[in-house]
C-alpha cells in the first residue's frame, strides 16, 4: 500500500490535467475490471463484477486530481506569473519548488530576500497575483520557449517515511484514496461495484456530477483525505481530526450531510472489528459527496477519510496505519452492503 501511495503521489495531476495520473491508475486496474472508460470531464470509471449482481452498482470514489497552479503569463523579464488551481493557502506557497508543463521545467517560487523586507512587511503575505516563479530564463523569449500560458504547475515534493509510521508527500489528498481503491478493485468482491476515479474534485467536485448521472447508484462511498490540525498551537475542537487516531467517518461537512444510517453502519463495522475511527470536530470542507448526493434521483452517501496534516501543501503528512484502516473498513462496508443494502426508499 505504501509503495503504491508513493508511486501515485509522484505523478503530476493538477485538476483538469489528469492524463498522466489517469493512465498510471488505469494500468493498475485494467486487469481487474470488466469495463474501463474515460468520460467527457476526465473521470476514470471501472466496473467490477461481484459475486452478486446489482441493478445499481455500489459506487466507490476517490479523486485523482491534486491542487496546484496554472501559468497565467510570462512577464517581460522571463518570470512566470501564476494562479492557484483548487484551494491553496497562499501562506504556504512562497519559497517552494515546482515543476511546470509537460517537460517538467523546474521553477522556484521566488521572493525578495528576508534582509530586504521590513519588519512591517514580514507580517504580511503577498497575494498570489504578486508572486512569481523563477525558471532561470535569460529573458521572456527564452522563457516562452520552455513553458506556455495554461501549463500545469505542480509541487515538486518527494515521498518520505518518517517518525512512527508517518509519511510525507504532496497530494496525499487524495492519492491515498486512489491507492485504497486500487487495493479494493483487486479483491474478490461480493457485489457489483463501480470504481470512479474522479477528475476536478478540487475545483468543485466537477467530475462527480457526470459520473453519478451516468451510473445512477443508490449508495456511494467516498474515500478522501481530510484536514488534520493536531498541532500544539491548535486546541480542542479546532484540531478537526488527529493523524493516527483512525479513519474519519463522514457525518457532516459544508457540502453534504452524510446518510445517517450509513454512518451508523460504518460506526458499527469499525467497532466490531476494533478499527479506530473518529469524526470531524469542526464542520468544514467538502468532498465529491456534495455533487453525488443530489444528482438525478438522489444517492445515499457515506465517506471514509484519512486525516492529513498540512493538506493542500507540498508537504502533507499522514499516518500509514490510518491508510490501512481505511482499506479494511471500506472492504467491510462493501460486504455489509452486499448482505443488506438497507434501501431507504419505499
Amino acid at each position: 500500500m505504501i509503495e503504491l501511495i508513493k508511486e501515485l503521489c509522484a505523478v503530476p495531476g493538477v485538476s483538469s490535467f489528469e492524463d498522466e495520473i489517469r493512465a498510471r491508475i488505469e494500468r493498475e486496474i485494467r486487469p481487474h475490471a470488466s469495463d474501463v472508460r474515460t468520460d467527457a470531464v476526465g473521470n476514470l470509471i471501472a466496473f467490477k463484477r461481484g459475486a452478486k449482481r446489482a441493478d445499481h452498482p455500489l459506487m466507490i470514489t476517490a479523486h485523482m486530481d491534486e491542487v496546484g497552479f496554472i501559468v497565467k503569463k510570462i512577464d517581460d523579464k522571463g518570470f512566470v506569473r501564476f494562479a492557484p488551481v483548487g484551494g491553496i493557502d497562499r501562506r504556504t506557497v512562497i519559497g517552494k519548488k515546482v515543476l511546470i508543463g509537460k517537460h517538467r521545467i523546474p521553477g522556484a517560487i521566488g521572493l525578495r530576500a528576508y534582509h530586504l523586507v521590513s519588519a512591517k512587511e514580514e507580517k504580511i503575505v503577498p497575494d498570489i497575483a504578486d508572486m512569481y516563479i523563477d525558471i532561470g530564463a535569460a529573458d521572456q523569449k527564452q522563457a516562452q520557449s520552455l513553458v506556455s500560458i495554461g501549463d500545469e504547475i505542480v509541487f515538486d515534493s518527494d515521498f518520505v517515511e518518517f517518525g512512527d509510521g508517518m509519511i510525507k508527500a504532496k497530494a496525499l489528498d487524495d492519492r491515498i484514496g486512489c491507492a485504497a481503491m486500487i487495493h479494493l478493485i483487486q479483491k474478490e468482491l461480493p457485489i457489483d461495484c463501480a470504481f470512479v476515479f474522479t477528475a476536478q474534485e478540487e475545483t468543485g467536485a466537477r467530475g462527480a456530477f457526470g459520473a453519478t448521472f451516468s451510473i445512477r447508484p443508490r449508495i456511494a462511498l467516498v474515500l478522501e483525505g481530510t484536514t488534520a490540525a493536531d498541532v500544539p498551537s491548535v486546541k480542542g475542537h479546532r484540531r478537526v481530526t488527529c493523524a493516527g487516531e483512525g479513519p474519519v467517518l463522514g457525518v457532516m461537512d459544508r457540502g453534504a450531510i452524510y446518510d445517517r444510517d450509513l454512518f451508523e453502519r460504518l460506526r458499527h463495522l469499525a467497532d466490531n472489528r476494533g478499527i479506530p475511527w473518529q469524526t470531524k470536530r469542526f464542520i468544514a470542507g467538502g468532498t465529491d459527496a456534495q455533487a453525488i448526493q443530489t444528482t438525478a434521483g438522489g444517492v445515499q452517501v457515506a465517506a471514509i477519510s484519512v486525516p492529513v496534516r498540512y493538506i493542500h501543501t507540498s508537504s502533507s503528512v499522514a499516518s500509514i496505519r490510518d491508510c490501512h484502516h481505511m482499506v479494511e473498513l471500506a472492504e467491510a462496508f462493501i460486504h455489509s452492503v452486499a448482505e443488506d443494502p438497507g434501501a431507504k426508499s419505499e
Binding site: 485538476s15 467527457a40 473521470n43 497552479f69 497565467k72 494562479a83 492557484p84 488551481v85 497575483a129
Partner: protein
C-alpha cells in the same frame, strides 16, 4: 444584418434583466429565424436557433451567449421614491445620479438619487453610497408610485449606444449581447455551408444570477460539444496586466483552465491559426463565471470551451468593445464550426 452598430444598438436597447428576458428572447428569435431551420423560445425562456446538419445523427454543437443583463427590482415605496434591490452584480459606485428605465408598460424613466455635496461630511464625500440608502426617483406622488409600480417590477440602466473612435463601441448589455451578435454573424456566414453537424445558437437567460438558462437549455438540447461566448476584462489605465489578460483590438480570447476541455480549446486555436485570426489567451483557474460552468457538468458531462470578447467597464452602462474583435470572433466561430469535430468527442 451585417451593420454591426445597428444590430448591437437594437439588441442593447431592449430591457431584459435576468428573469425578465422575454422581449430580448423574442427579438433574438426573430433575428435567428431567417438564418436557421428552426428558431423558437424554449420552455425556460432561452432563445434557440438550430441550423441542421446534412448527416442525420451527426454531432450537435451548441454555442451559447447570454441575453440577460444586470438590473434592478423594486422592493417598496418610500415617500414616492422606489426602494430597490439589484439583479446580478451591480457596482454600487455606478448608481448615484444614474438614469434608469422602470419596466412598466409603458416604461417609466427614473433617476437614482444622490445627496448633494453640501449635506455630506468630508469623510462621507470619499465613500460610495451604500445601495440601501439609494432610491429611484420616478417623479410621482407616493400614491401614484404605489399604483403604477408594484413591488417586483424590474428596471435597467437607460439605453443608449455610441461609437468611440474608429473601432470601439460603447453601450449597456454588450455583456453579453455583443457575443450573441457574433453568433448571428457566424450563422449568416454559414448559410450555404452544408455542415455535417447541427449547430445551435442558444441565447441563454439568467446567466447573471444562476446560469439557469445554460443549465436547462443544455439539458434539453443534450449536445456533444458546448462553446460559451462571453465577455472578459480588457486592460484599462487602472486595470493593467495584473488584473486583466486581454486588450481591446487583440482579437477574441481562447480560455485555458479546468472549465475548458483541452481538445476543444485546441481545435479553436487550430482554426484561428489556419485562418490567420489573431487571438489572445485567457487563463481561468477555477469557476469561470460563464454559462460554460453549468454546461460542462450537464448530464454525463460535455466537452466545453470558452471564447471571450475583451470588454472595458464591464457591468456599467458604458461597456466598451472593439468591432474588429467582434468580427474576428464571428470568423473564428465559422472556422471552428467548419471543422469535422469527430475526434474531439470520441473517447
Amino acid at each position: 444584418m451585417s451593420n454591426l452598430p445597428t444590430l448591437l444598438t437594437s439588441l442593447s436597447s431592449i430591457p431584459g434583466p435576468s428573469g425578465f428576458e422575454h422581449d430580448v428572447a423574442r427579438r433574438a428569435v426573430e433575428l435567428m429565424r431567417p438564418l436557421t431551420d428552426e428558431a423558437c423560445v424554449d420552455g425556460f425562456g432561452n432563445a434557440c436557433g438550430i441550423l441542421r446538419g446534412t448527416q442525420p445523427g451527426a454531432l450537435r454543437i451548441v454555442i451559447a451567449a447570454h441575453l440577460d443583463e444586470i438590473g434592478f427590482i423594486a422592493t417598496g415605496v418610500e415617500q414616492g421614491f422606489l426602494r430597490f434591490s439589484t439583479i446580478g452584480s451591480v457596482d454600487p459606485r455606478m448608481l448615484p445620479g444614474r438614469e434608469v428605465t422602470v419596466m412598466t408598460d409603458p416604461p417609466i424613466p427614473g433617476v437614482i438619487t444622490c445627496l448633494p455635496p453640501h449635506v455630506l461630511s468630508e469623510e462621507e464625500m470619499d465613500l460610495a453610497f451604500p445601495r440601501e440608502d439609494l432610491f429611484i426617483d420616478v417623479g410621482f406622488s407616493h400614491e401614484e408610485t404605489v399604483t403604477r409600480i408594484p413591488v417586483g417590477t424590474p428596471a435597467v440602466y437607460r439605453a443608449g449606444c455610441f461609437p468611440l473612435g474608429e473601432d470601439l463601441f460603447c453601450g449597456k448589455a454588450m455583456d453579453d449581447r455583443a457575443c450573441f451578435c457574433a453568433g448571428l454573424l457566424a450563422l449568416e456566414m454559414l448559410q450555404n455551408a452544408a455542415l455535417p453537424h447541427d449547430v445551435v445558437l442558444l441565447g441563454t437567460t439568467r446567466e447573471e444570477t444562476n446560469f439557469g438558462g445554460a443549465k436547462t437549455g443544455t439539458f434539453a438540447l443534450d449536445p456533444d460539444v458546448c462553446l460559451a461566448l462571453d465577455v472578459t476584462h480588457a486592460e484599462t489605465p487602472d486595470g493593467g496586466p495584473k488584473n486583466t489578460d486581454c486588450v481591446l483590438g487583440g482579437g477574441p480570447a481562447v480560455g485555458y483552465g479546468p472549465n475548458m476541455t483541452p481538445r476543444i480549446r485546441d481545435a479553436l486555436i487550430a482554426a484561428a491559426n489556419a485562418e490567420n485570426i489573431d487571438i489572445q489567451r485567457e487563463v481561468m483557474p477555477g469557476k469561470s463565471y460563464t454559462d460554460a460552468w453549468e454546461m460542462q457538468v450537464s448530464r454525463e458531462g460535455i466537452p466545453t470551451a470558452i471564447l471571450s470578447l475583451p470588454t472595458r467597464y464591464m457591468h456599467t452602462p458604458m461597456e466598451t468593445i472593439s468591432l474588429s474583435d467582434l468580427r474576428a470572433m464571428a470568423d473564428l466561430l465559422v472556422a471552428f464550426l467548419k471543422q469535422p469535430h469527430g475526434e474531439e468527442v470520441a473517447e
